[in-house]
Symmetry: C2
Subunit: 456 residues, 2 copies
Amino acid sequence: MAKRLFVLTLALVIGTVFLVGMGRDRVDEAAGGRTLIRNASMVLTMDPALGTVENADVLIDGDRITAVGPGVDASRAKVIDGRGKIVMPGFVDVHTHLWQSLIRGCATDKELNGWLGGCVLPLQGSPVNGADAYAGTRLSTLDAISTGVTTVTDWSHAFNADFARGNLQALVDSKQRFVFAFMAGTDPWIAPEVRRVQKDVIAPNPLAHLMIGTHPANWNVANVEASEKLSRELGVPLNVHLLESKADPATDQMGVLRRAGALRPGLLANHLVHVTDAELDELAAHDVRVAHNPLSNMRLASGVARVPEMKARNMKVGLGLDGGTNDTSDMFNDMRAAVGLQRAQSTDPARYPTPADVLRMATLGGAEALGLDKEIGSLTPGKKADLQVIDTQALNFAPKVDWASQLVFNTQPVNVQWVFVNGVALKKDGKVTGDNGRVIADAQAAADRVRKYLGR
Amino acid sequence: MAKRLFVLTLALVIGTVFLVGMGRDRVDEAAGGRTLIRNASMVLTMDPALGTVENADVLIDGDRITAVGPGVDASRAKVIDGRGKIVMPGFVDVHTHLWQSLIRGCATDKELNGWLGGCVLPLQGSPVNGADAYAGTRLSTLDAISTGVTTVTDWSHAFNADFARGNLQALVDSKQRFVFAFMAGTDPWIAPEVRRVQKDVIAPNPLAHLMIGTHPANWNVANVEASEKLSRELGVPLNVHLLESKADPATDQMGVLRRAGALRPGLLANHLVHVTDAELDELAAHDVRVAHNPLSNMRLASGVARVPEMKARNMKVGLGLDGGTNDTSDMFNDMRAAVGLQRAQSTDPARYPTPADVLRMATLGGAEALGLDKEIGSLTPGKKADLQVIDTQALNFAPKVDWASQLVFNTQPVNVQWVFVNGVALKKDGKVTGDNGRVIADAQAAADRVRKYLGR
């Protein structure tokens, strides 16, 4: 009897060890390791010189991509089986507001200004704090990783210094590459805090970049001028919402930017829906970059952005999910909306952007818009290892017909199996790493507080 | 040594049994059982008399919903924990072509007629067969189940009798509720085959319904007349593509239907994009039903369907995914496209449909369009148990702010945890039941054959 019990116990122990072993990560979390994605069925490099390669390996060494091609030496590397999988650059989201997962589903019956008035602006001067910002941003970063986003551009409302710190800490903790666009202005706390952030948080972190956010409008001139001044002082771009809603042209946004001297290379202009040809000419002449957010434009009844006209002027355009204003965090959906919205409006299937165009817009195009294309945006050996591995053997994706088109029209975030940022795996075998249950609970508690501040 | 080997073997056996046990279904697959979804955080019944209920139970007994409310007696029922979950009716997809998963991603640079010419019409007269149709349809049905679709309306090109049989068999095997729209015409094999199908396949199957598909156009009058005649003989509705592309009005679609006597209650008209006010008046006066397919209209550059104008005439409108012409099989995406496309075009957030309107359109509205609203479309005790359970505690959905809006703007198919059709669970705890690997392999083989027939 004792022996039988011993055998049973041993069996259970071995069974358990077997189970645990099955779930063990075979790829190191820390950078510095070597990971080989072997025999990927397709590698969409987005590098014009390399193109799209079939049955190839991708080697990650430390924080960089070091080789793309067949028969790469895998010694000392952890190996991911790439058969049936597509490897492509991680998405570069050029415009979002990550704290806004706390107001998902808020005022879905309103256009931009109604939504802002109901769900965002009342937080100015409210007790909303760093813990709230942290909770919302943490949830959003995990969600962004899940859909293959490796770089986020987080336009932070920075309602107060504590909020901005919580927001920023969550970005740091996400291990994603990020641009933090700090909403500046004339409030005395802001400029010293932004300088401190640049020195203490951004400069030492190879994943971090800074921009200055502001809102050009004839009722906000002093803040725009202070922001532009700070942007020049720190040598970082300005980041603005421009001609998004049909109500925006009446606030002389272009005039305010022009008089502040802000129309210059690197300025990131979000939306550009209600923009004239002459205004586009002027923006293009100054190498102003654009964040296109089609899902947000649909949700907020903003209209159809003039993306073909931007292309005609060779403007640098990236894609954004735009936080709570489109709610859904599906970059594949954002790509197909970018294609489909233009097509439905024009009834012209050749209208820009095509599926190939949006794949570029969501990766290398976004990196160009942010001025980071030397570092990210394509699977070019030497660039940072920001990439995603997509499983094609799924009910919503198979069979193989034209995979590049299927990436745009068929893919869902659940198909993203691996996401690497700077060589570190943040999604592994379909699971985003992190204590997701706790992040969700914290976000709920913060959303409940925010709801009170909004008086909803 | 022998004893050690014995212990190891026993351990592995027990470990394996443990693994298998973990995956064991706790809810019976066969109809006839009782399943209680207990303490669902929200039950969106779509029944105007019941509304939306919080913290309620939903009881499935056999093939029907028998109770919705708090404290339902659960004796003898398998129990699903509904905390943190939303229960709502399964989606009613009122227009699709399920075989077209075989041409996913095909000719994504073309509008409707270019796509048809490249990816569909060459199959007429080709060796495409029942095995091909079965493989594509089987993949699509599993995929539709994954996104919460419980009823599909499958407009089958029925390229030949064998193709139609394979297509139909896959629908039967899916255990979904379905409407098979059999493309008819003057070919001598068709009418006898459709009569046989109605008698042998549709009539004995409580999940099955029949329609007659045809294409109204001035080059196709004889086929339309034969189809209308068969539709009247069998007492089933006609199902047509109507004014989808800007090239369609030139083919006198309305005149052909009018002269054939086909403008009558129950006719299902798919798309209605390039339709005039007078034509809408005429269609509404005859109680013609509409399938709205916004994702397809975007993909194929068809335009923006005149849905608000249909609503103004009290027409019955449902939502469709439209097979390979929109590729993606995400009904949540289809709902938000239905909202966002109208909003982007009009810049009016109040424009029909609102988020609440599309939830109805995707469920009860679709059932009305198909004439099945006595049986399905809402969680009304006595109706068939076609429903889905959605997990809200996900990175892309949490926190709770306004769940009804979040269903439209935040949800992804991966959040659908359970799908029941006629009381039978077809998606269980996030997994679609079936040999998905084999289905995918069979679809790939069929897609490879079809590609040859298309000369691509």
